[in-house]
């Protein structure tokens, strides 16, 4: 009897020692951490780190601790490609997440295909990642331009727009979003006409040549893909002319996020309907509150940025897939990701087994004034999820 107990004790101790000696699971991540993309990359990385801290507190993945290896992608696809190769060959990471620009996402997907390492694209929206350039090891947990375009077309129909001005930035995201909108528009707003299409340059700050053209075109609504700083510049230059008084501005590119509302504050115009991945003040899932509280503590602000949720969800998917596969082998993890459903702060998500695209939705709604706040808030915020 004593003997068995002792043997059992030895067994337990040995098992414990084995668990402690197991090497950590390495998760590699690339976001832009310097330059123009850092505004998005830094909060996304904060969400990424939060997820890893949470998982490690619960004992890691498959009983192994997680080691996070974080690098700057410099918003440059060739640099991202080299850095990702380095993560795989030198640091021997088990999976790679991240990216922001579409070109960086495509470059990372290419490395993932060559090296047979799973890559989860957490922000890039280029539709090609999950269509023409799709392969076994690439997955996407952010929205794509077809989904965003579909919702914008639906909103154009819902708001009964008849004469539409179309504004897109002249680069990959803008061009792909335009295709997505034009594909869906006949379905939702068969009578609507696009009377004017303008394509300012990526990074443009002077919209004065464009604003009068839109005002003179007599459209009752604008479909816009001007994101972040482009939208801010447009508003600052157009609002004093009374641009937003009569025109409905339906916008992709997450200008409904708190980051933009907080930046523009009182200057945020009327008649804007836009989207965001996450809102710190609005939940569609019970788990959101806990996530938001932890994030607020980590970032030391109540008004947390939406990008953190994307970094967080990417890690949660990686962890769930490894647990399901009971392995970190790329082939098994890739198979596990196909059709995998997990609970996230924005509700339950499923990755389609064929397209490798998660059915992540976005909050859409009008940006309204609040008497007790210096900034606008989205109200009512409707969570629109692709079928």
């Amino acid at each position: 009897m004593k003997c068995t107990a002792m043997l059992a004790a030895v067994g337990v101790l040995a098992a414990g020692a084995a668990a402690a000696q197991q090497p950590p699971i390495k998760i590699g991540v690339l976001y832009p951490l310097t330059g123009g993309g850092a505004v998005y990359g830094v909060p996304a990385l904060a969400g990424h780190q939060l997820a890893i801290e949470e998982l490690n507190a619960k004992g890691g993945i498959l009983g192994r601790k997680i080691e996070s290896i974080e690098r700057d992608d410099k918003l440059n696809p060739a640099a991202a490609s080299s850095t990702m190769k380095e993560l795989i060959t030198k640091d021997k990471v088990d999976i790679v997440l991240g990216g922001l620009a579409s070109s960086v996402g495509l470059a990372m997907s290419e490395v993932s295909k060559q090296e047979k390492v799973v890559y989860i694209s957490t922000i890039p929206k280029s539709i090609q990642i999950t269509t023409d350039k799709l392969h076994k090891y690439v997955f996407r947990t952010s929205a794509n331009t077809d989904q965003e375009g579909d919702t914008m077309a639906m909103l154009a129909g819902k708001n009964k727009l008849s004469k539409i001005c179309h504004l897109q930035l002249d680069y990959a995201y803008g061009n792909d979003l335009e295709v997505g909108i034009l594909k869906a528009l006949p379905k939702y707003a068969p009578d609507a006409k696009i009377v004017l299409t303008l394509k300012p340059k990526l990074g443009a700050t002077d919209f004065n040549p464009f604003i009068p053209q839109v005002m003179a075109a007599g459209c009752d609504g604008v479909l816009s893909g001007l994101w972040g700083p482009h939208f801010v510049s447009w508003v600052k230059q157009a609002a004093p002319l009374g641009f937003f008084n009569k025109i409905k501005w339906i916008s992709g590119g997450e200008v409904g996020s708190h980051e933009i509302a907080g930046e523009l504050k009182g200057e945020y115009p009327d008649n804007v309907i836009s989207n965001t991945y996450e809102l710190w003040y609005h939940a569609n899932d019970p788990s959101h509150k806990e996530f938001q509280a932890k994030l607020a503590k980590k970032l030391n602000t109540q008004e947390t940025p939406q990008w953190a949720a994307l970094g967080y969800i990417g890690v949660m998917y990686a962890a769930a897939a490894m647990e399901k596969a009971k392995s970190t082998e790329a082939d098994k993890v890739a198979e596990a990701l196909e059709g995998l459903s997990i609970g996230t702060p924005v509700g339950k998500l499923t990755i389609d087994a064929k397209t490798h695209q998660a059915n992540i939705g976005q909050f859409w709604g009008p940006m309204v004034k609040k008497s007790d706040r210096a900034y606008r808030m989205m109200e009512p915020a409707e969570y629109i999820q692709p079928k």
Partner: protein
């Protein structure tokens, strides 16, 4: 003609590099491949800078043309490598000849600005011609011959091509033509007086630089299995310019050391901090204030001081 000790030293370097894959580190092989490609790129730029004494701010154009042409011919048109690589190099050389025809009419800052303008034109074409180049999505999914698909195979291929390229550049730079270029650099008016057609010589040098820049670009595109518009942007031109300055423009091998030092430094810095631009700024300060003749110049000075004591 090359001295015997130069030939022996080069052969030893190539042999040592050829033994590298035996060390078993995949990472070292990849990193060396990158360094070799940048070394050829920097060396090609130095034909303009070190030998004719003009600064080009647009050398990435020929790198990008070589890279795009080679990868597009391989992938979109299914050409064999034996045809697409030479075609890409010839195309880069031809474009350099056309651009050079206009640029060599100017010198100094005007020359630099014109090279920059043409390079941005190439960038504009790569950006706008989406159907062919993929625009700012980049051109990915390159089809490579099976032999080169493996990283060791590609390393040997790069080593062979770069070795031949460097040897060819050595011969060109040390020929009568190369010495004439140095004469033009030192005093263009005097070179003209002794009967040298300085404009034609500088034009030829510009074309040579573009051709070998295109070769480096083709190697780069195949290595990354993709070309991106960022590779044609002025920042890429600036990067290679810094490599050349860091290594030393008055020595043939200087740019090779500059390329290796800058690329390795950038890679290792990135493992610890994202603030590479700060480090780069400091490097530039040191070059301009303390090392105007680069690492090679520093080595020469250290050697001279040792010799004295």
């Amino acid at each position: 003609m090359p001295q015997r000790r130069h030939l022996v030293a080069s052969a030893i370097v190539v042999l040592l590099l050829a033994l590298l894959p035996l060390a078993g580190s995949r990472y070292a092989v990849d990193l060396t491949t990158e360094v070799l490609i940048y070394a050829l790129f920097a060396l090609s730029l130095n034909v303009i800078i070190g030998f004719t004494g003009n600064i080009s701010f647009g050398h990435a154009a020929y790198f990008a043309i070589g890279g795009y042409a080679c990868t597009i011919l391989l992938t979109t048109y299914n050409w064999p490598l034996a045809a697409s690589l030479p075609a890409a190099v010839v195309l880069a050389g031809l474009v350099a000849a056309v651009v050079g025809y206009f640029c060599v009419r100017l010198t100094q800052i005007y020359f630099a600005m014109l090279t920059l303008a043409f390079a941005m034109l190439v960038w504009g074409v790569a950006f706008k011609w989406k159907a062919v180049t993929g625009g700012d999505d980049g051109f990915t999914g390159i089809k490579l011959p099976a032999m080169l698909a493996h990283h060791v195979g590609y390393f040997y291929f790069t080593l062979a091509v770069v070795a031949v390229g460097v040897a060819a550049l050595w011969v060109i730079c040390h020929s009568a033509f190369g010495l004439t270029l140095v004469a033009i650099r030192e005093n263009a008016v005097r070179a003209g007086f002794i009967g040298v057609d300085t404009r034609r010589m500088r034009w030829a040098a510009f074309t040579v630089a573009g051709t070998f820049g295109g070769l480096a670009g083709a190697l780069f595109g195949m290595y990354h299995r993709g070309m991106y518009i960022e590779n044609a942007y002025w920042t890429e031109s600036a990067n290679v310019l810094i490599m050349v300055l860091l290594g030393g423009i008055y020595s043939f091998v200087g740019p090779i050391f500059g390329a290796a030092a800058l690329h390795l430094l950038q890679t290792f810095t990135n493992q610890y901090t994202p603030y590479w631009p700060t480090v780069l700024g400091l490097i530039l300060l040191v070059i301009v204030l303390a090392l105007p003749d680069g690492l090679i110049g520093l080595a020469a000075r250290v050697k001279a001081r040792r010799g004295r004591t």
